[in-house]
């Protein structure tokens, strides 16, 4: 009796990739260039920002009235200085710490909390689910940035309050995604069978439902991280982000706009840094999506 055709049993061959791309990457990276490119880029940015004192001897906040608006490369300033004579390279490195903090700090909390609420709500069902999801709808009805600005305005601008505002405003995205995935997963045969087998609710949710929710929320988290960084920068640009003189890429772009005709690098360079960080998260998101998707 043939149970299985042996030809079907083997893993599907990975799609062929360009050979030149596969060679310089570590063995594990082959076939997943996006994941490793994104992770690598993020690692480089993180090392530069967290190890800022190793890469520059200047202070990001020290004002030097004798070296105002120095052009890049001259006077010992790699990227020149801003209107207060502060070294742009140093500000870029130190400022990136805040942007990374926003990306990770704001996103991980909302990822965990939003996913947990969405899954629990969907699994509970009934009126609990109805109430929770209406609250989620309520949050979605507000324009996101207006909600964040309103919360910051109420609490006062600071890094901590920016986090609080982002947490309050953006858990709902995860909740809605997790809710939808959990609802469809609870109709899967293996989740139904798990109920019949007498598994506890926690076991069913964590071991059987979560794996099918995770790829979706993780990819969304990567998009959301980019969004949070840009939002943090926007708030910095609007002057209600992290207060001056703390360097932050958004406030650096904002500060440079007065000189955009003469010293355009003041806005362009932090802008490019933001773009790079965004690209890193996007690549990472794509790569993680591939990685987490079951080979079903």
């Amino acid at each position: 009796m043939t149970v299985l055709d042996p030809a079907q049993v083997g893993r599907d061959a990975a799609p062929r990739r360009a050979r030149w791309l596969a060679v310089p990457l570590p063995r594990a990276a082959r076939g997943r260039p996006a994941l490793y490119a994104g992770a690598g880029l993020l690692l480089v940015i993180s090392v530069l920002c967290l190890g800022a004192p190793l890469f520059t001897s200047y202070s990001p906040t020290e004002i030097d009235a004798l070296a105002v608006l120095v052009t890049p490369g001259s006077g010992g300033h790699l990227l020149g200085t801003d209107e207060f004579g502060r070294d742009l390279w140093a500000r870029l490195l130190y400022g990136g710490r805040y942007d990374l903090a926003i990306a990770f700090g704001a996103t991980t909390v909302t990822l965990v909390v939003g996913t947990a609420i969405g899954m629990a709500s969907a699994y509970a069902g009934g009126w609990v689910d109805a109430v929770v999801m209406r609250i989620v709808d309520l949050f979605f009805a507000f324009p996101f940035i207006v909600l964040v600005i309103a919360i910051i305005a109420a609490l006062g601008p600071s890094l901590r309050n920016m986090f609080i505002a982002l947490w309050i405003a953006s858990w709902v995205g995860y909740a809605r995604i997790a809710h939808g995935q959990t609802s469809s997963a609870s109709r899967y045969g293996y989740v139904i069978a798990a109920g019949c087998l007498g598994y506890s609710r926690r076991r069913i949710l964590v071991r059987h439902v979560l794996p099918s929710v995770l790829p979706f929320v993780t990819v969304f988290a990567m998009v959301d991280a980019v969004g949070n960084v840009l939002l943090g920068a926007s708030l910095g640009f609007l002057g209600i982000g992290i207060p001056q003189p703390t360097p932050e890429w958004g406030s650096m772009i904002s500060g440079g706009q007065a000189y955009v005709l003469s010293n355009w690098q003041l806005s362009l360079i932090p802008g490019l840094a933001l773009v790079l960080l965004g690209v890193a998260f996007s690549l990472l998101g794509d790569g993680l999506a591939d990685l987490l998707r079951a080979k079903g």
């Binding site: 299985l4 109920g195 087998l197 007498g198």
Partner: protein, 350 residues
């Protein structure tokens, strides 16, 4: 008589529609969909009960009720004469594990993230088997029972065919040590040749482990092969029930006759004489009287007004049909009205 393994008494599941504004103002009760309506069902240990019906007949809902995935609107499901809801927690857990499920879709019935070995092992862990070696040995044993070599425990469901996945589903159900398996269309998604293999497996396991089955299907050929008794559902109600042999030899209800006529089978002359015409009526607004009267070739006036009760007919069968009203189980089954070619348009009367 001993207590049956599983007994459903007066089981009903009604899904209310949202109330319309008018109903809300009048404080009227909302319309309900009677998915399952007053169904009795008994499963004896080691026997197979087949549940058959068209799409929309409520057979899957009945399965979900037997598995306690849905709360019945009325009636109860007893295991060994006990309701798990009323039993002590430990006993309730055991009673629930006594009844397991095998579902239709082989592609969602297994967690794609777990190897088949760990999916089966998990059942044993939850069942309180603490020794890892013991669990491993039991997994290998279960896999062999469904015809897999033990080394396959490392495979993911994605590496298995549809039939292979159904085997793993069965092994997973067996890991709980059930006495009854509710199988909802377990073979209808499979190729015919694989169907036969999986049905053979079900039959072999029944002999080896003294399992009872509730086999839910729309395929009478499957039931003829595997069932000891059959329940025929139409719009959520039992229209005929009884021993499989008698039912396949001489169905009493016109609906069962029509189903049998529609099913291709070897050695049975195929006649279209009592073929059911038309579609299944809207289950949300079933016809008055006998729900089958709109499609019945033998429809009488009484059928349009009065709902027939299940009454005993020949061969140990019970049918809900006015043709058998007042009849006692007598051997004169041949005197049943013969099928008449229905005149399309006007319903024929016998």
């Amino acid at each position: 008589m001993s207590t049956p393994l599983l007994e459903a008494r007066g089981l009903s599941k009604h899904y209310p529609f949202p109330r319309t504004a008018g109903q809300w103002v009048r404080r009227a009760a909302p319309r309900v969909l009677r998915a399952v309506d007053d169904v009795d069902l008994t499963v004896e240990s080691g026997r197979t009960v087949g549940v058959v019906g068209e799409t929309g007949s409520g057979k899957s809902t009945l399965g979900r009720l037997l598995l306690r995935l849905e709360r019945p609107t009325a009636g109860e499901v007893l295991i060994d004469g006990v309701s798990p809801e009323e039993a002590a927690p430990a006993r309730a857990h055991q009673l629930r594990r006594d009844v397991q499920v095998v579902l239709q879709d082989p592609y969602t019935s297994l967690n794609p993230y777990l190897t088949i070995g760990s999916a089966i092992e998990e059942v044993l862990t939850v069942g309180g088997m603490t020794s890892h070696e013991e669990r491993r040995a039991r997994v290998a044993e279960l896999l062999e029972q469904v015809g897999f070599p033990a080394v396959w425990s490392e495979r993911k469901p994605g590496q298995l065919s549809g039939g292979g996945r159904q085997r793993v589903s069965i092994a997973r159900a067996l890991a709980a040590g059930p006495r009854l398996i509710v199988a909802d269309e377990p073979v209808s998604a499979l190729d015919v040749s694989v169907q036969a293999q999986v049905l053979n497996l079900f039959q072999r396991l029944q002999r080896e482990l003294d399992l009872a089955y509730v086999f839910i299907t729309h395929d009478l050929a499957v039931l003829e092969r595997i069932a000891d008794s059959v329940v025929v559902l139409y719009l959520g109600r039992v229209v005929e029930t009884g021993p499989a042999d008698a039912l396949f030899a001489g169905p009493g209800h016109p609906y069962t006759q029509a189903l049998l006529n529609a099913a291709p089978a070897l050695g049975r002359s195929r006649s279209t004489s009592s073929a059911v015409t038309g579609e299944l009526p809207d289950p949300a607004s079933p016809p008055a009287g006998c729900t089958f009267h709109t499609r019945c070739p033998f429809v009488m006036d009484v059928c349009r007004t009065t709902r027939p009760a299940l009454t005993p007919i020949a061969g140990g069968l019970h049918a809900a049909c006015h043709l058998h009203a007042g009849s006692t189980p007598d051997p004169q089954a041949a005197s049943r009205p013969q099928p008449v070619t229905p005149d399309p348009g006007t319903p024929a009367t016998p």
